[in-house]
Amino acid sequence: MNIRIIKIISIFCLVVQFACCQNQDENKIQEILIATSVRNNFVSSDENADFIIGDKKYWVHYKVSYKNDTLNQFKKYLPEGPIEYSIEELRNDTAIYKSLKIPLRQNLQIYGDALYERSQKLDIELIKLDEKHFMEKNGKRVFVIKK
C-alpha cells in the first residue's frame, strides 16, 4: 500500500515538474524589438518601422530574434534601411549588441512583471505595459516581446 502511495506521489511530482518546464518554455522569448517613444507627428521612412501602443507612437531601432535558444537574427534600423548582422559578425564583435544587454544565447525569460535572465536580474529594470510591451524604468526604450 505504502509503495503504491509513494509511486502516485512520484508520478504527481513528475507531472508537476513537466508542467513547470512547459510553462517556462512558453515564456521563452522569440523576438525583441527595441524602440523609443516619439511624438505622434513623427514621420517614419519605409525602412524604419514604427508602431503605436494606445495613443503613443514608437520608433524601432533594433530587432533581435532567437531560434532554438540561440540568437539567429540581429538587425539595426538605419534611415536608408536595416543592417542585418551575421552570427559570425556578432561573435567577432560583441560590442555591436553588448550595450543593449541582449545576450547571444537566448536566456531571457519573463517572470511576473519583468524581463529577467534565467539566473539573475538584468541591469535594466523594465515596467510591464501589457502582455507584449515592456518599458525601461529609468530610460526611454520600449521592448516589444514576442513569445
Binding site: 524602440a35 520608433w59 539595426k76 538605419l78 534611415p79 536608408e80 534601411g81 536595416p82 543592417i83 550595450s99
Partner: protein
C-alpha cells in the same frame, strides 16, 4: 616615388576634410522635409602609388527633428579626439541600402564597429546611440538624391557620411557617382601588395562653430 619605403602604410587613405564644397538635399529624420546639408571635400591618396589621387564630396551632418518643433538637430559623427581620428573601413557585402546596388563602407576602430565619438546627447535622446561617446554602424554610403527600387529617394542620416555628386538632384542622382568612388577605392585597396583590401579613413574633426548644432528649416 614611393613615400612609404617600409611598406607599413601601403593602402588607400580616405581623408574626409573640413573643407565645404557645396550643399546637397538631406531628408530630416522624423519628418518628410528636406534640408540643405553641407558637402565636404574628401581626398583619397595611396602611399604605394604616389600618382594616385581622387577627390569626392560627402555630407557630414545628420539632421533630425524627431520632436517636430521645426528645429533640426545635428547627430553627425565626429571623432572623440582630433588626433585619434583614423579608422579602418570594411566593405558592406551587399552594399547599402542592402541589395540596392550602391557600394558602401563601414568604419571600424580597434577591430570593432563601435567607435569612439564626440559626445552627442541628441543622438542618445532619440535612441540612435546607446552611449554618449560611442557610435556604431557609421558608414560611407550613397547620399543626396538617389535611385532606390526604381524611385527617387532622398537620403537621411543618423551619423553616416553621404557620398553625393555635386549638383545632385532627383534627375542627377548619386548612385553612379557613389559606385565610381567606392569601386575606385576598393580596386586601389585590392592592388596593395602588403595590405590587400585595407582602406584607412581619416576624419578631420570639426570643432566649435565648424560643427553646426542646430538649424531652422
Amino acid at each position: 616615388m614611393r613615400s612609404d619605403p617600409d611598406g607599413a602604410l601601403d593602402y588607400p587613405i580616405i581623408t574626409i576634410t573640413k573643407q565645404k564644397a557645396g550643399t546637397a538635399d538631406q531628408r530630416v529624420i522624423g519628418q518628410s522635409s528636406i534640408i540643405q546639408a553641407d558637402l565636404y571635400k574628401a581626398v583619397v591618396t595611396d602611399t604605394e602609388d604616389a600618382n594616385f589621387r581622387m577627390e569626392f564630396t560627402v555630407t557630414r551632418d545628420a539632421w533630425e527633428d524627431v520632436d517636430g518643433d521645426g528645429v533640426a538637430r545635428n547627430t553627425g559623427f565626429e571623432p572623440k579626439d582630433g588626433k585619434i581620428n583614423h579608422y579602418t573601413a570594411k566593405e558592406m557585402p551587399n552594399g547599402y541600402p542592402n541589395g540596392n546596388g550602391t557600394e558602401a563602407l563601414k568604419l571600424t576602430q580597434y577591430g570593432s564597429e563601435e567607435v569612439h565619438a564626440a559626445p552627442n546627447q541628441t543622438a542618445v535622446d532619440i535612441g540612435s546611440r546607446d552611449k554618449l561617446s560611442t557610435a556604431k554602424g557609421i558608414m560611407l554610403h550613397v547620399g543626396g538624391n538617389y535611385e532606390k527600387g526604381g524611385k527617387n529617394s532622398t537620403a537621411a542620416s543618423l551619423g553616416c557620411f553621404g557620398v553625393c555628386n555635386p549638383k545632385n538632384s532627383a534627375t542627377n542622382q548619386a548612385n553612379n557617382y557613389t559606385n565610381k568612388v567606392m569601386n575606385t577605392i576598393q580596386a586601389q585597396a585590392a592592388k596593395s601588395t602588403t595590405n590587400p583590401g585595407k582602406i584607412e579613413v581619416i576624419i578631420q574633426k570639426r570643432t566649435g562653430n565648424e560643427y553646426p548644432d542646430n538649424k531652422n528649416y
